[in-house]
C-alpha cells in the first residue's frame, strides 16, 4: 500500500512554492510525523511531514517549483522494516493493476553512492573549509553525489575553521564578492516593496512622542503583570492598542482601494513586522480591539518565535489592515517606512532617547521617540493621516485615553 505525499494547501493566495530541501533521501525509511521536506512559498517557509511510516520514493528534485496538491513522493507502507531492495520486488507483481495510479513508481533507485568516497575535488575542499557534514547533505549530482553547489548552499554547519595565521601584509585572500540566488521570500519582499512604491501615492508624516508615561506605567506594574500573565509588559502592546484606538477614531485609515472601490474594514487586525533569519515577516495580531495588553504581548511573542523558527503558518500572515514596524530596536532614529501594500498605512517606531524638550516653559530631559506614519495618499488625506498619528501620540503620552476611548 502506497501513500502519496502531496503539497498541502496553505492559504488563499498561495498556489505554488519551491520544494527547497528534502530532509530524507530516496529509499529512506521514514517515520510517521517525521519532517521530510521544506517548502518555501512567497510568504513563508513551512515543512512537510510524513503521514504514514514506510519507504519513501521521492519524485521531485529539491529546488523545483511545486503546486498545491502535487504529489512529490510516495511512501510505501508495506516496506516498513523490509530490506531496501524488497519493495521493488514485492511490488512488481501488482504493477499492472496499479498502472493507472497517478504517481508512477520510479525505477529502482540506483544504489546510493558513498558521499565521502565520491566527493569531487572542489566539493572536498569546500566541505573541509565550511565544515559541512557531507553525509547530512542531499546530493544533487548523479546518483545523489554531493556537489560543490550542494555544500555551498547547505545551511552553514559550523563557522569555517579559523584560517591559519596569514601574513599581515595584503590579505586580499578570497573573492571580493559572492553571489547567491535570492530566496523566494526575498524575491517576494523585493517585488512587493517595488509594487508599493509604484502603485501607492506614498508619503510620510512625522511626530514625536514623550515615552515617560508608558515607561512609568511599565515600571509601576511590571512585577504584577509578570506575576499575573507570565510575560513582560512591553512597548508593543501600548502601540498596538494606540493604533487600534487611532483607527477607531479615524476610520478612513482602516480601508483599502480595490479597483474603483474603497473597502473599509470594521475589524482591527494589526500586523507587526518581525525580523527573521530568512527575511522580514509580518504576522497579524487579530482583533486587537477585543484583546487586552497581556493577550497582545502573548500573541506577538508567539508569532515572533514561530517566524524565527520558520514554523509560521500562511494564515498567520494574511488579512492585516495596518502594520507597525519597529526600527528602533536596531537603533534607528528616523525612517520612512514603506507600506505593506495593499494596506494603506504603516507606523514606524524608532529608538527612545533622552532629548531636551520644553514642558510648561521649561527645558527638561524626556525619553522621546520619533514616529513616522507612511500612508497611501490616494486613499487618505493629510488631515486624516496627521490626525491618526496625533491620536497615536496622545494615547502613548496619556494611556488613560485608551480607557475612555478619547
Amino acid at each position: 500500500m502506497a501513500t502519496e505525499v502531496t503539497i498541502p494547501a496553505m492559504g488563499e493566495s498561495i498556489s505554488s512554492g519551491i520544494l527547497s530541501a528534502w530532509h530524507v533521501s530516496d529509499g529512506d525509511t521514514v517515520e510517521k510525523g517525521q519532517t521530510i521536506f521544506e517548502l518555501e512559498t512567497d510568504k513563508i517557509t513551512s515543512e512537510g511531514t510524513a503521514e504514514v511510516a514506510g519507504v519513501i520514493s521521492i519524485q521531485v528534485e529539491a529546488d523545483e517549483e511545486v503546486e498545491i496538491g502535487q504529489v512529490v513522493a510516495v511512501i510505501d507502507e508495506s516496506a516498513v522494516g523490509a530490506a531496501p531492495a524488497a519493495p521493488a520486488a514485492s511490488e512488481a507483481p501488482a504493477a499492472p493493476s496499479e498502472a493507472a495510479a497517478p504517481a508512477e513508481a520510479p525505477a529502482t533507485p540506483a544504489a546510493k553512492v558513498d558521499p565521502v568516497a565520491t566527493l569531487s575535488p572542489a566539493a572536498r575542499k569546500a566541505a573541509e573549509e565550511t565544515g559541512a557534514d557531507v553525509t547530512a547533505i542531499t546530493g544533487s549530482g548523479k546518483d545523489g553525489r554531493v556537489m560543490k553547489s550542494d555544500i555551498l548552499s547547505a545551511p552553514a554547519a559550523k563557522a569555517p575553521a579559523p584560517a591559519a595565521p596569514k601574513p599581515a601584509a595584503p590579505v586580499a585572500t578570497g573573492e571580493r564578492e559572492t553571489r547567491k540566488k535570492m530566496s523566494p521570500l526575498r524575491r517576494k519582499i523585493a517585488e512587493r516593496l517595488v509594487t508599493a512604491t509604484q502603485e501607492a501615492a506614498m508619503l510620510t508624516t512625522f511626530n514625536e512622542v514623550d515615552m515617560s508615561a508608558v515607561m512609568k506605567l511599565r515600571k509601576t506594574h511590571q512585577e504584577a503583570f509578570v506575576d499575573r500573565h507570565g510575560i513582560k509588559l512591553g512597548f508593543m502592546s501600548f502601540f498596538t492598542k494606540a493604533v487600534t484606538h487611532a483607527l477607531q477614531a479615524v476610520p478612513e485609515v482602516n480601508a483599502r482601494i480595490e479597483g474603483n472601490e474603497i473597502v473599509t474594514h470594521h475589524f482591527y487586525d494589526i500586523g507587526v513586522a518581525v525580523g527573521t533569519p530568512k527575511g522580514l515577516m509580518v504576522p497579524t495580531i487579530r482583533d486587537c480591539d477585543q484583546k487586552d495588553f497581556a493577550q497582545i504581548e502573548k500573541d506577538i511573542i508567539h508569532y515572533a518565535k514561530a517566524a524565527r523558527d520558520g514554523k509560521i503558518q500562511m494564515s498567520d500572515l494574511e488579512g492585516g489592515v495596518f502594520t507597525i514596524s519597529n526600527g528602533g530596536i536596531y537603533g534607528s532614529m528616523l525612517s520612512t517606512p514603506i507600506i505593506n501594500y495593499p494596506q494603506p498605512a504603516i507606523l514606524g517606531l524608532h529608538n527612545i532617547q533622552q532629548r531636551a524638550v520644553v514642558v510648561n516653559g521649561e527645558v527638561v530631559a524626556r525619553p522621546m521617540m520619533y514616529l513616522a506614519l507612511s500612508y497611501d495618499h490616494r486613499l487618505i488625506d493629510g488631515k486624516e493621516a496627521v490626525t491618526c498619528l496625533v491620536k497615536i501620540k496622545e494615547a502613548i503620552e496619556d494611556p488613560s485615553r485608551l480607557l475612555f476611548g478619547i
Binding site: 553512492v113 575542499k125 585572500t173
Partner: protein, 469 residues
C-alpha cells in the same frame, strides 16, 4: 651586498612545482619570491626533461612515419634526410618559448625572481648566492621545491661524454651508432625511441624481467612487443656490472638472467635508472631537517617539514616524481598556508610514458589490487576493433579498465595506444568523482574517436562491450 627582503612566501626552485606554487601564492595575495639557481626558469621539466624530450619525440615520430609509413599512403618521400642540428634547434625554440613564458608569468603575478642557489639560514632567511646577484631573502613561509637529479650508478659513473644522463641524451650532436640504455622506465624508453628512430642501434638493459614495470604485465608485454618491432633490443633480467674500454671502444658489461657475462659495444650509454631528490647546498641541516633513507624531505599531510615555516613539495618529498604531482602539491601547500583546504588526491595521479604508442595509467594496476586483496573485475578493449584507429593506422594497443568487483568503482585504467596520454584524462576525471566502470561506459564518447575504446573497455568490465566478440 646582502639585502633584506621581507616576503610572505618564498619558493626555492622554479620547476613545475615551484613556479606554480609561486603563482598560486601571488593569487592568494602573498608577497612572493622565487629563487632559481639556473639561468632560465622551469626546472628540469622545461629545460632538460618533459618538454625537450617531447619535442624530440614528436619530430622523430614524424621522421619515422616519413621513412616507414608514408609510402603506404601513397606519399613518396624518396631522398629523405634529417638534420640533427635543425632538429635540436627546433627543440631549443620550444624550450626557450616555455621558459620565457614562465618568466612572463612571474612578472605578470608580480613575483620577485632571484637568480642563485638558495640556502636556508633559519629564522625565515634564505641566502641567495652564486647567481646574478647575492641576496638575503626573508619570508614568513619557505617552500622547498628543488626537484630531483638523475641517479648515478657507482659502477657506471657519469662522464658527460660516453656515460650520460638524460640531460645529455636530449642533446647529442649526432646520432650515436650504438646506444645502450640502462633502465627501461619512462626516460629510457622515450629517449631510446628517439635515437632508434633516427637510426641508432639501441640496446635497453633492464634489471627487472619486464619493461615499464609500473604497469600490469599484459601492458608491459604489449609494449615490449611493439618496441621490438621498432628495432629496440631488450636485455631483461640483466644486471649491469660496469664499463670496459678496449682499443678505443667502449663496452657495457652485464650479467644476464642465466648468470652469463655479456657485453655490448656502446658509443653512448644512457643511464636512466631513476631520479633522486636534489637538496645539495640547500642547508637543510641548518634548520634541522633530516632527509630519509632515499634523500627525501619528510613532510606531514600539509607539506610541513620539521622546521617551522618551512614546507616541501614535488620530487624532494615522497611520492611519484611527476611534474603534475609537484604542481598539485605546490597549489595545495600554498592554499594550506593561506588557511584553505588544498588537497592532493594521490590515488588518482596519471602516469605516462610518451613512446609510440604511449603508455598511460591512472589508479592502481590489477596486480596491485591483488596484492591489496581487493576483488576486482577487468575489461579490455583492443584498438584493432576501433574504427578511428583502423582509419588512422593506430590499431596497436588496448585499454584496460579495473573496477571493484562489489561496487563497480573504477580503481584503475591503463591504456597503451597512440595518444593515450590524452585519452587517460577522461578516466582520471571519472575516478576523481568516484565514478564506476558503468559510469564511464555510459558516458557518451564522440564517434569516431580513439576514446570510444575507453568506453568500450569500461563496458567490457561487465561483458557488455559492443564492438567485441
Amino acid at each position: 651586498m646582502s639585502q633584506e627582503q621581507p616576503f610572505d612566501l618564498v619558493v626555492i626552485g622554479s620547476g613545475p612545482g615551484g613556479y606554480v606554487a609561486a603563482i598560486r601564492s601571488a593569487q592568494l595575495g602573498f608577497k612572493t619570491a622565487l629563487i632559481e639557481k639556473d639561468k632560465t626558469l622551469g626546472g628540469t621539466c622545461l629545460n632538460v626533461g618533459c618538454i625537450p624530450s617531447k619535442a624530440l619525440l614528436h619530430s622523430t615520430e614524424m621522421y619515422h612515419f616519413a621513412a616507414h609509413g608514408a609510402s603506404e599512403h601513397g606519399i613518396d618521400l624518396s631522398n629523405l634526410s634529417i638534420s640533427i642540428d635543425k632538429l635540436m634547434a627546433k627543440k631549443d625554440r620550444t624550450v626557450n618559448q616555455l621558459c620565457g613564458g614562465v618568466a612572463g608569468l612571474m612578472k605578470a603575478n608580480k613575483i620577485t625572481v632571484f637568480n642563485g642557489l638558495g640556502m636556508l639560514e633559519g629564522d625565515g632567511k634564505v641566502r641567495v648566492s652564486g647567481g646574478s646577484e647575492e641576496a638575503l631573502v626573508v619570508a614568513k613561509h619557505i617552500v622547498i621545491a628543488t626537484g630531483s637529479a638523475s641517479i648515478e650508478l657507482p659502477f657506471l659513473p657519469f662522464d658527460g661524454e660516453t656515460v650520460v644522463s638524460s640531460t645529455e641524451a636530449i642533446a647529442f650532436d649526432k646520432v650515436p651508432e650504438k646506444l645502450v640504455v640502462v633502465g627501461a622506465g619512462a626516460i629510457g624508453l622515450e629517449l631510446g625511441s628517439v635515437w632508434a628512430r633516427l637510426g641508432a642501434q639501441v640496446d635497453v638493459v633492464e634489471f627487472l624481467p619486464v619493461i615499464a614495470p609500473t604497469f600490469d604485465k599484459d601492458v608491459s608485454k604489449m609494449a615490449e612487443r611493439l618496441f621490438k618491432k621498432q628495432s629496440l633490443k631488450f636485455h631483461l633480467g640483466t644486471k649491469v656490472t660496469g664499463i670496459k674500454k678496449d682499443a678505443g671502444k667502449t663496452y657495457l658489461t652485464a650479467e644476464n638472467g642465466k648468470g652469463e657475462a655479456i657485453e655490448m659495444e656502446a658509443d653512448k650509454v644512457l643511464v636512466s635508472v631513476g631520479r633522486k631528490p636534489y637538496t645539495e647546498g640547500l642547508g637543510l641541516s641548518t634548520v634541522g631537517i633530516e632527509t630519509d633513507e632515499k634523500g627525501r624531505i619528510p613532510i606531514d599531510a600539509h607539506f610541513k617539514t620539521s622546521a617551522p615555516g618551512v614546507y616541501a613539495i614535488g620530487d624532494v618529498v615522497p611520492g611519484p616524481m611527476l611534474a603534475h604531482k609537484a604542481e598539485e602539491e605546490g597549489i595545495a601547500c600554498v592554499e594550506r598556508i593561506a588557511g584553505q583546504a588544498g588537497h592532493v588526491n594521490y590515488e588518482v595521479i596519471p602516469n605516462v610514458i610518451y613512446t609510440e604508442p604511449e603508455i598511460s595509467s591512472v589508479g592502481i594496476t590489477e596486480a596491485t589490487a591483488k596484492e591489496r586483496g581487493i576483488a576486482v573485475k577487468t575489461g579490455k578493449f583492443n584498438f584493432a576493433a576501433n574504427g578511428r584507429a583502423i582509419a588512422s593506422d593506430k590499431t596497436d594497443g588496448f585499454v584496460k579498465v579495473i573496477a571493484d568487483k562489489e561496487t563497480d568503482r573504477l580503481l584503475g585504467v591503463q591504456i597503451i595506444a597512440s595518444g593515450s596520454s590524452e585519452l587517460i584524462a577522461s578516466a582520471v576525471s571519472h575516478m576523481e568523482y568516484g565514478g564506476s566502470a558503468e559510469d564511464l561506459g555510459r558516458t557518451i564518447h564522440a564517434h569516431p574517436t580513439l576514446s570510444e575504446a575507453v568506453k568500450e573497455a569500461a563496458l567490457a568490465v561487465d561483458g557488455n562491450a559492443i564492438h567485441s566478440v
